[in-house]
């Protein structure tokens, strides 16, 4: 099947969604997605950020679709023509969607651990307006600890349902979901019951905002001061391929390897994520490539990091002596 997205033709399999067809082309024309996650079945269709305009339905029926469609849920037709960034209507609608997503989102980016790798931050920066027209109080919730390693900040949640799909598919038992309806919807476990599963930590990785965060990383450091390094280990539960986030010599966080769309390549288990935080536990592969547009790559340089200088007792003694000589004056 041949589809044209923003004037670029691409051949795709029947049944592919517009979003995935755009991802096969890559680059600027890929619609952003907050809720769709290619590794999670049934995800998508919630956030409406991936809206696109179908200017020609198909070869047989060339009428345009009457409304903007969610590209993550609409499958392609032969000869379909799609407009994403070339359509002012789409850009305008997306701006509205971002404003909508930010209605209840607290602007606590300076405090939030997700800042720097947050999809909502990127989206707001690229598409959003600087001001909100919303005049009412934002909904607020208390922080909830889901187990001893994961913390839920419901105030930051944009209800993308990714974590619910993760709990459904990756883990064997479903322990949390959405309670209530509409504006009162909230992600919760049954009366703060711990999500107790070997793969439960993946709900941190799939969360596009800072609603689900790693408690072992809480306020440890900002993402852009840490250095991502690819590493692997033999794990009997998962693939063991992870990204280690270094600060100096210490591993302060372990996550799955995220691709250009912020989706993990493979899910990792909780042992790898929370318990193995020593360099000795891992086989280092090399520094992770980060887009130069990302704040994470700022002040990081494009070469293999030099080994951390080991403490040299002779040098330390000499320095101490020098220091004492200086201070005596």
């Amino acid at each position: 099947m041949k589809v044209t997205i923003d004037g670029i033709p691409v051949e795709v399999e029947p049944g592919t969604t517009i979003l995935n067809a755009a991802r096969q082309i890559g680059g600027d024309i890929v619609p952003p997605a907050m809720c769709y996650y290619s590794k999670l079945e049934g995800s998508g269709g919630k956030c409406r950020t991936c809206l696109v305009k179908v200017s020609k339905g198909s070869e047989k029926d060339p009428r345009p679709m009457p409304k903007l469609v969610a590209s993550c849920r609409t499958t392609v037709m032969d000869g379909m023509e799609v407009q994403n960034i070339t359509s002012p209507e789409v850009v305008e609608a997306r701006k509205g969607v971002v404003e909508m997503l930010l209605l209840n989102h607290p602007l606590d980016c300076p405090v939030c651990d997700q800042a720097g790798e947050c999809h909502l931050q990127d989206l707001g920066f690229e598409h959003g307006a600087a001001k909100t027209r919303y005049e009412f109080d934002r909904r607020t919730f208390e922080k909830i600890d889901i187990g001893d390693k994961i913390q839920l900040h419901m105030t930051r949640c944009i209800l993308c349902y990714r974590c619910v799909f993760t709990a459904d598919q990756i883990t064997n038992t479903r322990l949390h979901g959405i309670l209530n309806r509409g504006d009162h919807s909230e992600i919760s476990t049954y009366i703060t019951k711990a999500v107790d599963n070997d793969f439960s930590g993946n709900i941190i990785d799939v969360c596009p905002v800072g609603a689900l965060t790693d408690k072992t990383f809480r306020f440890k450091n900002r993402v852009w001061f840490t250095k991502p390094v690819d590493a692997h280990r033999d794990c009997d539960k998962c693939c063991g391929k992870v990204t280690l986030w270094y600060k100096g010599e210490d591993v302060i966080r372990v996550t799955g390897r995220k691709d250009v769309y912020g989706e993990v390549e493979e899910f990792i288990c909780n042992t790898c994520r929370f318990d193995k935080k020593k360099t000795a536990d891992w086989v280092i592969e090399g520094p992770r490539k980060i887009s130069h547009k990302s704040v994470i790559s700022s002040n990081h340089y494009e070469f293999t990091p030099l080994p951390v200088v080991k403490t040299n007792p002779v040098l330390m003694e000499a320095n101490k002596e020098q220091f004492e000589r200086d201070t005596r004056l």
Partner: protein, 165 residues
């Protein structure tokens, strides 16, 4: 050799006349200039005792501000350290404990906040980057010292004095 510009000036060396040969008029002239300055307003000031007024946009030592209730504004977001071209700022964040609400404004605060004044170039980018209006370069000239370690200013020197003291 011919010069490139073909311009040249021929200097004439005239012999000195009587007054010039006497030297005294020239010396008197020089002394008169010196004496004139005794009665003029001096252009210099005696610095540490006397200080010139700074311009309005002078950038001096940093101070970490408190809000109207005396709570520290800094939330250790790290944007100042990120924007710092000299990499002079480091910080360690900590979580606010229950009961410390009157000390820190946000749930996160800077437990350690250090600026290396030898590295700092006083560009003011930290001030510009701060989303919480917590850091301002509104202080004096950074005082001199003898040791490098004494130029690393911690929170004890940077944070503003509490309100009612």
């Amino acid at each position: 050799m011919e010069s490139l510009s073909n311009k040249r000036k021929v200097l004439e060396v005239k012999p000195l006349n009587f007054l010039e040969r006497a030297y005294l008029p020239a010396i008197m002239g020089g002394l008169a200039t010196t004496m004139k300055h005794f009665f003029k307003k001096p252009v210099t000031i005696s610095y540490p005792e006397e200080k010139r007024e700074f311009s309005e946009n002078f950038r001096g030592m940093h101070s970490l501000k408190r809000d109207e209730n005396g709570k520290e504004r800094c939330t250790a977001c790290g944007l100042c350290a990120l924007s710092c071209p000299a990499e002079a700022i480091t910080m360690t964040a900590a979580e606010r404990k229950p009961g410390e609400e009157n000390l820190y404004r946000e749930e996160k605060y800077a437990a350690v906040y250090e600026i290396n004044m030898l590295r700092c170039i006083f560009c003011g980018l930290c001030e510009e980057a701060c989303p919480k209006e917590a850091i301002y370069l509104d202080g004096d000239i950074v005082p001199t010292d003898y040791l490098r370690k004494d130029f690393i200013y911690g929170k004890d020197k940077l944070v503003e004095a509490p309100l009612n003291q």
